[in-house]
């Protein structure tokens, strides 16, 4: 008993205990102060040198044209993501179809829309009237030029392109569901569509939602591409203003600050979504799924 441990023998601790001191603390502090100093110097230069006119930036930050561009950016992002997600689900379900022609059609779509630049697709949709001057059937027809406004072209371009990317994400989600789930559902008599709607897709959501949030953040920025077809979103509006007052850099900074604000908020939402995913009751509430 008395020999149980060295300290018990001597009656006092004969070694140093506790956390060891960190090595290289001085070096770490030197690097930190260097970085802080450089950042402060850069900030001071940007704010005070007169290279950027902060009064102008501030004056245009809440300009009605900028705010309406901002609204259009958000609207395009939301609508394009809705088109993209719905299309993505369709394409992904098609991809796992037992009819080879159907899965081939899905693969062809994804190949075309992922294999060509989004910018080219946007310009293409904007000029679609050159290919199909009118659409209609029977006696009814309508001019494509009137139908495909810059907004429609933007929505088509962004949404159809997003559909191709979303289909890959949904497909990965479907693929992540254990195949025993499908077999069990089939063995109690569920049909193909029921298995998909009640078992596979609800379980795939866990895998689908985080990258979809990522795509949404990408979409916020990609909407700026539609400025080439004048779709009246944030960048188009900024360009319109600097074309008249020549404050190019200031208005680009206004737009950039708004983009930063939007992507930061969206990243916050994404972070929250991802944290909630351990608990799939949260997903069920979100999609209103109930069996």
């Amino acid at each position: 008993m008395a020999n149980a441990s060295p300290s018990a023998v001597s009656g006092a601790q004969d070694y140093l205990s506790g956390k060891p001191r960190v090595l290289g603390r001085g070096k770490r502090m030197a690097v930190t102060s260097l970085v802080i100093f450089a950042a402060a110097a850069l900030a001071a230069y940007i704010l005070t040198s007169g290279a950027f006119n902060w009064t102008v930036i501030w004056a245009f930050f809440f300009h009605p044209a900028i705010l309406s561009g901002l609204a259009m950016t958000l609207e395009l992002t939301a609508l394009s993501m809705i088109v993209g997600v719905l299309l993505g689900v369709c394409l992904a379900v098609m991809a796992v179809s037992r009819y080879p022609a159907v899965s081939a059609a899905s693969a062809l779509y994804v190949w075309m829309f992922r294999g060509t630049p989004l910018l080219v697709q946007l310009i293409f949709w904007f000029n679609i009237a050159l290919v199909f001057p009118t659409v209609g059937f029977g006696g009814w027809s309508v001019s494509v030029n009137a139908l495909v406004t810059p907004f429609m072209a933007a929505l088509l371009g962004l949404g159809l392109n997003e559909g191709a990317y979303m289909s890959e994400i949904v497909r990965a989600g479907i693929g992540s569901v254990d195949k025993g789930q499908r077999e069990a559902a089939q063995s109690i008599g569920l049909g193909g569509g029921q298995v998909m709607a009640h078992i596979i897709l609800p379980q795939a959501l866990k895998v689908i939602i985080p990258p979809t949030a990522n795509q949404t953040i990408g979409m916020l920025k990609n909407t700026s591409l539609v400025s080439v077809i004048g779709a009246q979103e944030l960048l188009t509006k900024s360009e319109d203003i600097y074309a008249r007052n020549f404050q190019v850099i200031e208005l680009l900074i206004v737009a950039s600050l708004w983009y930063l604000l939007m992507t930061t908020i969206a990243s916050g939402i994404q972070f929250w979504l991802e944290r909630r995913f351990g608990d799939d009751r949260a997903i069920r509430r979100m999609v209103g799924e109930q069996a």
Partner: protein, 267 residues
């Protein structure tokens, strides 16, 4: 196979045969896994299939409800051909909806439970009652609760599969199959994925089920269950049935050397 049109095949046994498998053949690529396996199971009979790993037991069971489509042969449940119909001497697939409904009459319990992880225990059981049997939500729920109570899980109806032990999950899986009132219930090693102390609760549910007159085909390594509960033991090896007979006799005095060797290994 054509000589065994269902009318001919079923006349002999009349209504006594609940499940009939004829010459089930299945290959995966070049690998012949089942070479013409036939089995008749009488109404209310409990048949245990035993045999070494890789002998084709799971594949045979999965061919019975067409989770694997056999290359040749046929399956009948209660006189009705599964997944196929003969019209003017030509064998056609059943329409998908008819086939799906037919599958509901062949219950299956899996080694790894395969409970729907997005649903509670009660929802696992009631889902097909609503979607396949088209029962109203409240009726489906009442049936689900009653069946879950019959496997001793009345206190766990709102639990997710992830919140249940393996034994509880497997009992929910049995309840899910039983709720559809299947004509025959297939079990693929239902206790092999369980911790040893949980095996008993699942076997006792299965024993109770056998007592209700359920027709059951059970792939298992539980020799005790095979001896005490099943009416017949079938020994499979190398993609075919090597030996079968009354449980007590086959297990006590196997006549085939391969059966002897297998039984001596697992005891």
């Amino acid at each position: 196979m054509n000589a065994l049109a269902p009318s001919v095949a079923l006349d002999t046994a009349a209504a006594r045969v609940m499940l009939r498998a004829r010459d089930i053949t299945k290959s995966f690529g070049p690998h012949l896994v089942l070479s013409g396996v036939s089995l008749d199971v009488k109404r209310g009979e409990v048949v245990c299939i035993i045999g070494p790993s890789g002998s084709g037991k799971s594949t045979f069971l999965r061919c019975l409800n067409f989770l694997e489509v056999p290359d040749a042969g046929g399956v009948w449940v209660d006189g009705e051909r599964v997944a196929c119909q003969e019209i003017d001497g030509v064998l056609w697939e059943l329409p998908a909806r008819v086939f799906a409904r037919q599958r509901a009459s062949i219950g299956m319990v899996f080694q790894r439970f395969n409970l729907f992880s997005n649903l509670t225990a009660e929802e696992n059981v009631s889902l097909a009652l609503r979607l396949v049997k088209r029962l109203p939500r409240s009726e489906a729920r009442d049936i689900a609760r009653a069946v879950l109570a019959s496997v001793g899980l009345e206190r766990f109806i709102h639990h997710r599969p992830s919140q249940l032990s393996g034994g509880q999950q497997q009992r929910v899986a049995i309840a899910r199959a039983v709720a559809m009132e299947p004509k025959v219930l297939l079990f693929d090693e239902p206790t092999s994925a369980l911790d040893p102390e949980l095996v008993h609760e699942v076997l006792s549910v299965m024993t109770g089920l056998a007592g209700t007159g359920m027709t059951m085909v059970v792939v298992t390594h539980e020799i005790g269950f095979a001896r005490e509960v099943s009416d017949r033991v079938v020994f499979m090896d190398g993609g075919g049935i090597v030996e079968q007979g009354v449980s007590g006799e086959v297990l006590a005095n196997p006549s085939e050397p391969r059966t002897k060797a297998f039984l001596s290994k697992i005891k």
